[in-house]
């Protein structure tokens, strides 16, 4: 794969949220507003970019047996940096993301890319992969956040786009609306895939799980 392909891979072909079904928790939780989705996406992209480079540089030093704890430590370090930066410069975002900011540490996109890509590739390629995947994640979050914010509160990035005289579809901002939007968005993607013949098997079970190689529950998730 050339460099451009590695970068664009994460945008559509292997979009982490809609095609690989990774990072479902933050996708559902923070997308009540487009701005939160953007903030979460940028924070995760930063962590993904830095941890991919660090893990790629260390890939020949880390013994295979302890690689997961080592990856988690590297990722946790960058998450702490992001937490401090967000707390200092965008306190409003810190408040609305809440616990999901420290939880980037267990976001399966980041651990998944460390395991599937950065541990096998050169630093430059890993950096591009991290950026592409992060951008794919961010775009999906902003899209979902936009749908839920426009329909649910009638605003987009805080600007009113639907006149106040029209009732809000507040269901969209509730947790149930999150599941519903995600389900419909995924159905739309599958519909397009069926039309264009780019089918991809989606399972939330063993395939695509970053803990697959170390997990004892062979096929326990079905």
């Amino acid at each position: 794969m050339n460099k451009v392909q590695i970068f664009t891979n994460g945008l559509v072909k292997e979009n982490p949220v809609l095609r690989l079904v990774l990072g479902t928790c933050p996708t559902l939780a923070v997308t009540t507003m487009a701005f939160n989705g953007l903030g979460m996406g940028i924070a995760a992209t930063f962590v993904l970019f830095c941890s991919n480079i660090a893990i790629s540089l260390l890939r020949n030093v880390i013994p295979d047996k302890v690689r997961l704890p080592a990856y988690i430590t590297v990722i946790a370090t960058f998450v702490s940096i992001v937490q401090m930066l967000v707390k200092a410069y965008v306190p409003a975002l810190d408040k609305s993301l809440g616990v999901f900011l420290p939880l980037i540490v267990v976001n399966c996109i980041i651990l998944g890319r460390a395991e599937m890509f950065a541990s096998k590739n050169k630093p430059l390629d890993s950096a591009l992969d991290g950026l592409g995947m992060g951008l794919g994640f961010t775009l999906t979050l902003v899209l979902m956040g936009s749908i839920r914010e426009i329909l649910g509160s009638g605003t987009w990035f805080g600007m009113t786009v639907i006149p106040a005289s029209i009732d809000r579809f507040t269901f969209m901002t509730t947790p149930a609306g999150g599941f519903f939007t995600f389900g419909c968005l995924m159905a739309l993607v599958i519909f397009i895939e069926n039309k264009t013949g780019n089918k991809k098997e989606r399972s939330i079970g063993c395939e695509g799980c970053p803990s697959k190689s170390v997990c004892g529950a062979k096929g326990g998730c079905e």
């Binding site: 928790c25 159905a187 079970g205």
Partner: protein
């Protein structure tokens, strides 16, 4: 005191349900909920690990990272280490529990063991330990909060495994087959939990 503990416990189960309202632990919720047996086993393991992790991380936070003296001033502030310390402690703890269980409690290990490695990187476990600190709960309250979160997870898993059994016979439009219709069903399940809002305040009074 008892009323407050009960309020925290039931709030975590019904109102602030970790899976359906707070979106923590969605992966096992969608991944392991197909069969009732595995849903139940996974939930037991989650309850156990959540409570244990809280019992270990609460003292670490309050005696090592951000201890306070008699006047309530911080003795020193290592709060920025919270994320790293918590995730490593949880990972080590899960491994340790698995080793001990395998050696001394083989039947229990057979039932829960397969789910333990999955829990290390489960956001619900890290989430409950961090939220307990953020909410400023004391030790006993934290334990009840963790127990409530665990039982709430179990309730959601068991209910949803029943829903999924019905889904298997359903014939949705082709593009909704598989994961999308599961997510829409989860939406309906989450909607039903919306009905519990205000319940706790009226029974136990405001927390």
């Amino acid at each position: 005191m008892a009323a407050r503990l009960a309020a925290i416990f039931f709030t975590m189960i019904l109102v602030d349900n970790y899976v359906l309202v707070k979106f923590l632990g969605i992966c096992p919720f969608l991944g392991v909920s197909k069969k009732l047996n595995s849903a139940f086993g996974m939930s037991c393991a989650v309850i156990f690990v959540m409570t244990l992790a809280t019992a270990v991380t609460w003292p670490i936070q309050n005696f090592l990272l951000t201890p306070v003296d008699a006047e309530g001033n911080l003795k020193w502030d290592l709060g920025y280490l919270q994320t790293i310390v918590f995730i490593l402690v949880i990972a080590v703890l899960v491994q340790l529990v698995e080793i001990i269980m395998k050696k001394y409690m083989p039947p229990l290990h057979k039932a829960l063991g397969v789910y333990l490695p999955l829990i290390t990187t489960n956001c619900a476990v890290l989430g409950v330990t961090v939220l307990n600190i953020d909410n400023g709960y004391n030790f006993v309250e934290s334990i009840f909060c963790a127990l409530g979160a665990g039982f709430g997870f179990m309730l959601a898993m068991v209910i949803f495994s029943g829903v999924r059994k019905r889904l298997e016979e359903a014939q949705p439009p082709k593009c909704f087959e598989g994961l999308p219709i599961t997510l829409v069903a989860a939406s309906a399940t989450a909607l039903s939990f919306g009905g519990f809002g205000g319940l706790i305040e009226n029974i136990f009074g405001a927390i």
